[in-house]
Structure formats: structure tokens, C-alpha cells
Amino acid sequence: MVNLFEIVFDDNSTYSGGTLETTGWKDIPKKKIRSIFYLLPSKDYLCLCNYDKYYHMIEATQDIYGSAAIAVRLEYAYIMGKKNNRVTVYKIDLTNSNILKLDFAEDDEFISRLNNSFWK
């Protein structure tokens, strides 16, 4: 299995993520992260480093009504880095591998409404 992400901490220790379904993000040790290597659908890696905090989430849809309803579909992955009150967001389309790079102020509604407990 190829891990979804690899983390290098400031103390040179490492942590490996899991899969899109079971990412392992919650279990990341509480240590200062130096860099994250994030596996893209293309099998390339996106490297985030030198941020103060990092965030990751998967966006899923579950059809609850309709013909040919798809039970659960993973549509997007987000990997983010926060520094100096700005947040860089990489929105990865899991259906076509497109990547959108976005920049938000920390108090932007999209950022401020995230579940804060998952910043690392």
C-alpha cells in the first residue's frame, strides 16, 4: 500500500498516513511538522513545508434519493497550510485529478468554519 501522506517532524521523526478512507490524520503525534509529502492521484507528491499549521480533509457525497444513486463517493481531498494569518489550500479533484490552489485569509468563512480540532 502506498501511503496517502508522509510527514517529517522537526525532530526528524516521521509519520505515515493511511488511505483516502482511513487517512490517519487524527492520529498524527502532537509535534511540530516540518513538511508533508501528499500523494496526488497522478502518483506525484505535493510537498508542503514551513507552515505553522496544517489541515487535511476528504469531501464525500452520499446520494440519499434518486435513480442510480451512488452510496458514497469521495469527490475532493484538501491539504492546507497556515502561516501569517493566510491559508493556502490545495483542492484535489479525486475524480479527474485536477488541483486547484486557493489562498484564504484565516478569518475567511471557509477557513473559520472548519472543525478547529483537526489543525496539526
Binding site: M57, T61, R113
Partner: protein, 213 residues
């Protein structure tokens, strides 16, 4: 991964899933489905067979020349007869009424953002241009939803028109992510405009969008 279970209330729409889960049926998304119908002597609560297309057409809602028509009934077609023995259909209690605990979205763990309900033409979640979704004008969508997680929707609630990515229904009343799992609620209805010019039997897709870490 955070998992979602979609349930409908078939007993008492004043009772939460937490207090009495037996009032709810978990929708098997592979085999079960919702039926929006005017209902008649055949298409009704507690059917003992799966309704045919002909029976559904005969029980369809009729367009009114003067007044909007709210589709009278929503039935859960329960293929596996989860409750009550051999019955295929169960009336969704409180649909379109001033009731809180009608459609339940139960999450088994925290989410990263606030879950939301969306309406699309198909499971591709790409377009919302069918008649029932307003022909591309989201505010004209027949599909109305109201979040009832925090409060009653009110008598004669109008609800939000659901269509596409911009006209969605936040399921936690705008309070953000679910911190430790739990149940969110909504009420839904389908309102056909008066004298609508295009009678049709249309399908659409309701989807719940949520995030996890």
C-alpha cells in the same frame, strides 16, 4: 472515515432518533427509495407489494391551474421489510408539516465542515436543469428543504429551494461541523407551481455532502 446513515421517521415525528431509534428506518441506499406521490387506494402506507410504474403514474400529483400543489405523501419503499413484517412501504411521518424529526442524517463520528443537502439532475452532481429543479433557475426548484436540527420549521414553512451547488441546505443550522458525531434533521417537500406547463415524471438526486479527516 465518518459514515452517514440516512433514516426516515415512520412513527412519531416529534421524537428524536436518539430518544427512540425504533421510530426510524435506515434507508438501504442500494434497494430502498423514496416515493413522492399524491397516493391513492393502491399507492399508500403499508403496501404488500412494490408499486409498479403504472400504479405510481395513476397516483401521481396533478398540476392545479390556480394553486401550487405540495406533493401529499412521501413513502419509503423498504425492499427488505425492515419493520412491521411484510410491508414494502411506510409513510414518512411529518413530511411537509411543522415537524422536526422527519428525515435524519446520523453521523458516526466528527465532520470537518457542516454537512449539507443538495439536489442535482443525476448522481454525477454536475447539472441542475430539470423541471423539478427549476430549469436552471435554482430559486424556482420544486424541491424545498428546511433544517430542523435546532428548531421546528414553523407552520406553513416555505423552505429553501434546492438545486445545484449554490442553493443547498446546511444541516446543522449554520452552526458548523459536527464535533463528535450525532444526528441532524431536515424536513422536505415538493411544491409544483400553479399551472405549470410541463407535466412530467422526472427523477432527480438528493445528496448529502460532508467531510472527514
Amino acid at each position: 472515515m465518518t459514515n452517514l446513515t440516512f433514516l426516515t421517521n415512520y412513527v412519531d415525528a416529534d421524537v428524536t432518533y436518539l430518544i427512540n431509534p425504533a421510530d426510524y428506518i435506515a434507508v438501504d441506499l442500494t434497494n430502498d427509495y423514496l416515493i413522492w406521490t399524491a397516493g391513492d387506494a393502491v399507492v399508500k402506507d403499508l403496501m404488500t407489494h412494490e408499486p409498479t410504474s403504472g400504479e405510481l403514474n395513476a397516483a401521481a400529483s396533478l398540476i392545479d391551474a390556480v394553486n401550487p400543489v405540495t406533493v401529499a405523501k412521501c413513502l419509503l419503499m423498504d425492499y427488505s421489510h425492515d419493520v412491521g413484517g411484510s410491508y414494502y412501504t411506510h409513510l414518512v411521518k411529518g413530511m411537509s408539516e411543522n415537524k422536526r424529526y422527519v428525515y435524519c442524517f446520523s453521523f458516526d463520528a466528527a465532520t470537518a465542515t457542516e454537512p449539507q443537502l443538495e439536489a442535482w439532475d443525476t448522481s454525477a452532481h454536475a447539472t441542475a436543469v430539470k423541471n423539478v429543479l427549476g430549469l436552471g433557475t435554482a430559486l424556482n426548484s420544486f424541491v424545498k428543504g428546511v433544517c430542523t436540527t435546532v428548531t421546528l420549521p414553523g407552520v406553513g414553512w416555505a423552505g429553501a429551494s434546492l438545486a445545484g451547488a449554490s442553493n443547498v441546505l446546511l444541516l446543522n443550522a449554520g452552526n458548523g461541523a459536527i464535533l463528535g458525531g450525532g444526528a441532524l434533521y431536515a424536513n422536505l417537500k415538493i411544491v409544483i407551481p400553479a399551472a405549470y406547463a410541463t407535466p412530467a415524471a422526472e427523477t432527480f438526486v438528493l445528496t448529502c455532502r460532508y467531510t472527514y479527516v
